[in-house]
Amino acid sequence: MDQLDKDIINTLQYDFPVCEHPFAELAKTLNSTEDELINRVQAMLDSGLLTRFGPMYNAVNMGGALSLCAMKVPEDQFDKVTEQVNAFAEVAHNYQRNHEMNMWFVLATETQQDLINTLDAIEKNTGISVYNMPKEKEFFVGLHFKA
């Protein structure tokens, strides 16, 4: 990763222009060329340094539902419950965390009703209560990752 890669990461985390030739537009500010920027972005996607290039959609504003959910899973059932929870396509991420509430997952569904139904199904399949913690307010976050 050289300075141009870092500049690309730091600039493109904020905004990729919407215009006919966006890479050519960016090349002006990044002191590079259209071809060079295209090659660099593709190379960083290929190497896994970038995980995504494109629009970031806001699921809730698209009419969908999103929630952070937590469960207290007994140690001896952890693997089984992980399998049961992960089997739901609506579970987007799932993390084990070092707390009595040791399983934290994000549910993403197209409607609020789908979300409730999925929560019910997870409780039924696992026999464990789910703490449903949808965001009530999102606070502005200014900075992204500095490369």
Partner: protein, 169 residues
């Protein structure tokens, strides 16, 4: 009136097609929007107009890249959780969001008595000590405005597929 309603529902369907065509990413080519517009059989200008509209009403947060923060050296993250009086949560949440170590900051419901935390802030660092240190700095900054706090480190990624809109076809 009818015309307007029809236009809105046309836009809804078009926007849905645009989401489906771009949710896994844009093509890395000189004219990415033209390529997507061709796939959808619409003009590039219409696609760009719809994307700008979705940016304006915040259905699109932004268009850009997402770096793998692990590969940038930010290998540790902790979910810091805070018990803040509801009356001052806006002020505290906005203050936390401005800190350069915090990438997400949300108010969420409490579950009393076992879960009294209503403010969640994801804190990143190059290692666990750095995250702990940053959370300590936040605690000092908040002083008695935070009644208590905790930090939950992830010990294992159990699933990570990202969000996908299903194609109803």
């Amino acid at each position: 009136m009818n015309q307007e309603t029809e236009n809105n529902s046309d836009n809804d369907e078009l926007d849905r097609q645009i989401v489906l065509a771009t949710q896994s990413g844009l093509p890395v080519v000189a004219e990415p929007y033209r390529k997507i517009a061709e796939q959808l059989n619409i003009t590039t200008q219409l696609l760009m107009d719809r994307l700008n509209t979705m940016k304006q009403d915040n259905r699109i947060r932004r268009i850009g890249v997402v770096p793998n923060h692990y590969k940038l050296g930010y290998t540790a993250n902790g979910m810091s959780v805070w018990d803040v009086d509801d009356a001052i949560i806006n002020e505290v949440g906005e203050q936390l969001g401005k800190l350069d170590m915090v990438t997400h900051c949300y108010q969420r419901p409490r579950f009393l008595p076992e879960w009294s935390y209503n403010l969640f802030a994801m804190v990143h660092g190059h290692n666990r000590e750095e995250v702990l240190d940053k959370v300590e700095q936040i605690a000092i900054l908040l002083g008695d405005r935070a009644r208590k706090h905790d930090i939950l480190f992830s010990t294992k990624i159990l699933k990570k597929t990202g969000l996908r809109l299903k194609n109803k076809g």
